[in-house]
Amino acid sequence: MPVLEYPIDRLSMPIGPLTGGPKRLLLALIGLFVMALLSACNNNPYRPEKGKMIGYAALGEDPRTLDPAQVSDTVSADILGQVYDALYQNAYLPRPYKVEPALAAAYPEKRIFFEEVTEKGVKKQVPRMEYTFRLKDDLYFQDDPCFPGGKGRRVKASDIVYAIKRLADPVVQSTGYWLVAGKIKGIDAFFKRAAAAGKADYTQEIEGIKCPDDRTLKITLTEPYPEFIYVMSMPYTAPVAREAVEYYNAQGREGFSRHPVGTGAYRLKSWERQHRIVLEKSPTFRKDFYPTSGAPGDREKGLLDDAGKRLPFLDEVWFTIISAGQPGWLLFLQGYLDASGIPQEQFDKAITKNLELSDAFTKKGISLEISSNLETSYIAFNMRDPILGKNKYLRQALSLAYDSDLYNDIYLNGRAINAQGPLPPGIFGYDPSLKNPFKAHDLKKARELLAKAGYPGGVDARTGKQLELTYDISSDSAQAREAAAFDMRCFEQLGIGMKLRVNTFSQYLERSIRGTFQMSSSAWLADYPDPEDFLILLYGPNAPPGPNASAFSNAEYDRLFERMKVMEDSPERAAIIHRMVAIVVDECPWIFNFHSPSYVLRHSWDKNGKSHSISGNYAKYLRVEPQVREAYWKAEDKPNLRAPLYALSLLIVLLTPGMVITYTRRRR
């Protein structure tokens, strides 16, 4: 008998002898655990809040900052838009998009005048543009401890001047300085002085900004720039109280970026980083009313039921930060989020082949809203690349080989719009009749053009070597690799060799600043609803490190851009834009890929929801019906208590015979 086997065979009752203290402790622990388990038996993630109308929403990530001068991500903009109102706002219901007065009493007065300047000893007349903005009467900051007595004070025009000066303060590290740099007269000089001193001196004036009185603001631009009104509708130029910045940036306090104090309909109640942001109705919010007219079809959808009513409706808005895809979707299905997008893997379940909502969802009272995003995705060629940059036919051939429709079907559930040019639908100058001849996916024609480009069959006619191109991606994720593999397969059909280069984000950024890539995919989401925001991406002087990553440069395009930029919307402006798009289509610095629409699902209690591509102060328009929601919660939240009993019984049935047999055998 092997000696080593002996002790274990004689050992019995391993758990039995547990007596006294440890046993009681163990039992207490198990008891506590079971109790906790039972009392946790509901899946409502929110504390009960009786008598309040609360909107429950999700955010994809934590906002970077709630300092309006530092916002650069859509998530921060989403929250800031509710807390800070600017002079103008994106009108909620009308389409195409337009801006309307918010804090401003009316649209601005514009005046073009000529100023004599001496440049290199030559005197010339330069056109300038002066904007005059008038503020409404009843504007107050939100109540906050930073003000005397905690009461929000009246808003002055100088609070907007302060906000603009903050953009040009190197200490603030603003992401919005580019919007005013070179445009407001004297702001560059202000920034230079501030950069040299290490910080801005707020007592110094900016030449082009004047406040004749507390309600009037005059801004002089270095050239006519009608898009400036969009700048005045962004959180960057929302009035900021100097008291708030100084109070919260004082030593020992958490910082102004965590304590926004604005003039919007909602003020910040709490912000638990990476977890939840709660906004509450601001009692000092100005008199503001729900719009009485909207886009065609809005009335039928019930979007005008609340027309003329005082805003806002919701007492509080809770934003839960959810970075993974599954939890957000599941919370929506359980009714704990009022609205949700559709994760790609759930798309087929929710949406039928005809792009309608499936029955399972309509039965629950859920409705679908499809809206276009002001977004264009594309594959950019580097125009400074010796192979691609100088060879228009090659770029055209690659564009023809690219199969957007197939990509759309495979990866985007067929919901995207095949882009023909840089402008997405909904933007002034978008031409629905445009048919890009190089987006036709025609391999035969692509091969002809490739031969014309000097690479018949993908082989360099001069050297006899196969043409090889490098495709850069900015992420190592499976999704990015898969998408790149698809793109490259399209080009390989022409006999071209494709090489994938996976970059870290920093490496990728480095490549786009230095312009050391051949081709790479990218996308642009509008900052404001004007074609200039898209066409600027191909404007020659914006070559890297500027936003024109392709380094596309075309004299006619640049000239037209400069003209278009300073024009008001008109048939003439549209004609210029069409010409610019035609140049880009022919020159093919990008393979235009998609405009992706957004699909939003809403529960029946979620009223007045309408997607807006440029986030703004939308929360004040939303209303919910709490009783309907509570009924839904009750119907959904019924824990299944039988299942664990079954599982436990099964475990006992499985284990008992073995335990009994072994125990009796060893006793013997």
Binding site: P17, L18, N42, Q173, E510, M659
Partner: protein, 327 residues
């Protein structure tokens, strides 16, 4: 033992420096200061603005050794990016995050509690659950129960944690509806949100832990002193809990004490899927946003913790096993 500890602490210095150097190189060789500045300054910063950012962050200085004379006319060779950053960390004066514009020390203080509310209960519960189970399985060694347990263990070990999370979340929170799917509450209300991730963390670690503890127990019950004790008529329960368990503690201690520093690092996936605003989330977001001040601070803190953990493990050997002395 004193000299041993001093030696280990001295050895820790080059280790931590090396780790920090490696991280520094990773983030500074591949990305120029300009790239980092542009990443943090949003869509379309002006050149002047980029320059001002670089100067304000000391990124215009050389990487390691500064040979230029400073403002006082003297050369300060260590006035460089790496050494200035190291100086901050060594003095625990954490920098400001590039992306969030907040002090990293404050962020860590804020995030550490939610992380611990998951990792500590999961850690304790997995020991509490695994030890008796291991004794149980060890007792039934050789029977079908033992084989069944081992079989289940291997299955449990082969499943990646992400599957536990996705399936567990779906089954327990969506189908059976016992728990909230997602969320967190600071304070005592946290327990409701912590239960499910803790259960899943325990389940995910059960297979490996059980197999390991079982092996340890089996090695011990075969030892001579067990036979001696039995011959002397000591009760079986006493042998098991007084003698076997104590001796089995040495390998168990190694693994448990070594894993204590990781309690603070948090669990990346659990935090992400259950909405726990902890350290794992902080690090993940910092990496996504190329927020180097957070990354280098966390790397520094974690490497210190790891080294401290391994020193404590060594010391704990001497406490449980009188045969071990540290020299």
């Amino acid at each position: 033992m004193f000299y041993y500890i001093v030696r280990r602490i001295l050895l820790a210095v080059p280790t931590v420096l090396g780790v920090c150097l490696f991280t520094f190189l990773l983030f500074n060789v591949f990305a120029s200061p300009e790239a980092i500045a542009r990443k943090q300054l949003g869509k379309n910063p002006t050149t002047v603005q980029v320059k001002a950012w670089i100067t304000a962050h000391g990124m215009d200085k050389p990487m390691f050794f500064n040979q230029k004379a400073g403002k006082d006319g003297r050369i300060h060779p260590l006035d460089s990016r790496f050494w200035n950053q190291m100086k901050e960390l060594i003095l625990f004066q954490f920098p400001e995050s590039d992306y969030l514009h907040e002090n990293v020390g404050d962020l860590i203080k804020e995030k550490i509690v939610p992380s611990l509310t998951i990792t500590v209960p999961a850690f304790l519960l997995s020991i509490i659950a695994t030890l008796p189970l291991a004794l149980f399985v060890a007792y039934y060694r050789g029977t079908y129960l033992d084989r069944l347990a081992l079989f289940i263990c291997v299955i449990l070990m082969s499943i990646v944690i992400l599957n536990y999370i996705i399936v567990g979340q779906y089954l327990l929170a969506v189908v059976f509806k016992y728990f909230p799917i997602y969320g967190y509450e600071y304070g005592i209300g946290a327990w409701k949100f912590v239960l499910l991730p803790v259960i899943l963390a325990v389940a995910a670690g059960l297979g490996g832990g059980l197999r390991f503890y079982r092996t340890v127990m089996l090695n011990e019950v075969r030892a001579d002193y067990v036979r001696t004790a039995m011959a002397k008529g000591v009760s079986e329960g006493r042998i098991l809990f007084k003698h076997v368990l104590k001796n089995a503690m040495i390998p168990i201690l190694t693994t448990t004490v070594l894993s204590i520093p990781f309690l603070i690092t948090g669990s990346l996936l659990l935090e992400m899927y259950f909405g726990i605003p902890g350290m794992g989330n902080l690090l993940l977001n910092a990496i996504n946003n190329a927020d180097f001040p957070i990354i280098r601070s966390l790397v520094y803190v974690y490497s210190l913790l790891y080294i401290a953990g391994s020193i404590v493990t060594d010391i704990s050997y001497t406490l449980v096993d009188p045969r071990v002395t540290l020299e």
